[in-house]
Symmetry: C2
Subunit: 357 residues, 2 copies
């Protein structure tokens, strides 16, 4: 394994001193890049996920083109339910569709217990290949969807506005919901462990739909399974990041779930959140992704606001508050990364550039 | 004007003592009711809005069928942009579409200054007719969309996921955004004033998309126009309710905007919010609308949680945390209203049934 040349992202995850704030962008490998679209012309989305050479190539693109401090393996959270036996289709302009959604005990019983080394070997191969090709330049992040977020797609069968079916399941058959969530937590933990084994330097759990639950329901149906995953991941000192979009409540509980980093959406005030939980976890975020539609003066202004809101010292990883949007100008993405690298120096004291821990 | 026989909703808005918690449901006149669908078969949605007899009929349905403590006039927030000259179509299964979205200064200049008595007479007639037909049974609520929420539809031209175009406008031409928002605030204020003049006993401002803005942007592009509306409404003592979905931050500022009541979505903890702002405003909410998919035992359990969370005393109007969903069983809606009426008595002391103020 190559030693990392740029480990500023890892150090910030561990709340160690850094000379500037590291930056990467959720969904940074994607449609806004012409270089991505060129590959995408040759293969559909799932084929790209399942072809390690293509996955590695688009994973590395933003490192080279945009200059981010970490790569995130190109994949999809739904490869886990697919490996469990669900028939997945990614429809252009519509999103993911499962042709055999999970609606009852029989459907749930049919879900296979997965072995990542066998059923998701293509992801592990992509991780290993990407690590080799990155040559230790920047760290590589592996990821998964939280059990709750996976369950929403598995039950609804597609993207949803009101989450009617999956919420009906929670309320009318909580035992069945819990049994599937538990199985998904085990699968997620094994999957993230295998990614770390294959070379991932950090992992992130995306709870994209945590915020559609009430506070009690979030604790019962999402947070406890995130905690389970984190406690089961086999890792040495690879940081774990949790991003739960829209979960503005119970930040203390989220900070106590065992993750090293909590990701925040753009409706949160970084400074306020730091006061609450900044002594326990690093914070990742949280520029409104639509700011990248603005001119570069406005991008600079909003970038400064995020940096100032967090304030001085380590423990901040700059990111968007959600995924980068597909119609963003890549020049703006580049400008943002450059801005963070320059502007953030003022928030880190000189003379503490070496690791403190 | 008939004196109200059941004024418990109005008293709760004013944080006066009540013998039980009043209850109504956002979007209570709607598709989940077979009686509504029977009318809807005869006329499309906009025709229903524009035919006072039909609007009055569906407005009163939930009072008679579900037993709620207030009626809300059947209408749509987008009648204001339509009156300004925008061509509105409500597409079945898709939602509202504007054929001439507002994208630049020319588009904005073409927006007419409206006179509600002339341009939205059909709403005022519907309010007056509904008031007569309600015979003072329960109060009637008028409503409008917040300027920011109206702007999202006017600029995007339809429902949106990422609000790309309207946010680009905020960032790249804030002056234009402010000029339209200001015009919309004046229109909203005139419109709500005219509804009160026509007989509305209370008004609600819906900021459905407030929560997609960052905290700073919410203050700049939404909250200040809500404050402007409230300061301009011509009213005697008719309560004003503000519902800003997803706005979990700046509750103190929201409570200070001049409204009597703040509505909360289901991700908020009523008890915690009451501690923060309950001495300034009444609170409305906040059962997760999907709880109505559950069996009645679960509905009872969740209803009790909401009531307990708010706790003892006045100043709470029970409602859903967002609109009722179209595929809810009307029996569950009825059961919910009955449950609130019964279960809430325990949270209000006997002997204080008369008004304290």
């Amino acid at each position: 394994m190559n030693k990392l040349q740029n480990d500023i992202f890892i150090r910030a995850c561990k709340r160690q001193s850094v000379e500037r704030t590291p930056v990467w962008m959720m969904r940074q490998a994607g449609r806004y890049l012409p270089e991505y679209r060129a590959i995408r012309k040759k293969a559909d989305f799932l084929t790209m996920c399942k072809t390690p050479e293509l996955a590695a190539e688009v994973t590395i693109q933003p490192v080279e083109i945009i200059g981010v401090d970490a790569a995130i393996i190109f994949s999809d959270i739904l490869v886990i339910p697919e490996a469990m036996g669900m028939r997945l289709e990614i429809r252009e302009g519509e999103g993911p569709v499962f042709h055999n959604p999970v609606r009852n005990e029989d459907d749930a019983r049919r879900l296979k217990t997965i072995d990542p080394g066998r059923d998701l070997k293509f992801v592990l191969d992509a991780v290993a290949l990407t690590k080799r090709e990155l040559k230790g330049n920047v760290p590589l992040i592996g990821f998964c969807g939280s059990p709750w977020t996976l369950l929403t797609y598995m039950v609804e069968g597609r993207g949803s506005k009101n989450f009617s079916r999956v919420k009906s399941l929670l309320y009318n058959n909580p035992a069945l919901a819990h049994s599937i969530l538990d199985k998904l937590a085990d699968a997620d933990a094994d999957y993230l462990s295998a990614k770390i084994e294959a070379g991932a330097d950090a992992v992130q759990i995306f709870d994209t739909w945590g915020g559609v639950l009430s506070q009690n329901d979030f604790e019962e149906f999402s947070l406890r399974y995130i905690e389970k995953i984190i406690s089961q991941i086999r890792r040495k000192d690879q940081p774990v990041i949790v991003f739960a979009k829209g979960v503005h409540y119970n930040l203390e509980r989220l900070a106590g779930a065992g993750a090293d980093v909590v990701g925040l959406d753009w409706t949160m005030d970084l400074g306020e959140v730091r006061k609450k939980i900044g002594s326990k976890v690093a914070l990742q975020g949280n520029l409104d992704p639509t700011v990248l539609y603005a001119n570069q003066d406005k991008i600079r202004e909003e970038t400064r606001k995020v940096l100032s809101s967090f304030g001085e010292g380590g423990g901040h990883i700059f990111n968007l508050g959600h995924g980068i949007l597909p119609d963003v100008d890549p020049e703006n993405a580049k400008a943002l990364v450059q801005l963070v690298k320059e502007e953030s120096k003022a928030f880190h004291h000189r003379g503490t550039e070496t690791q403190r821990f």
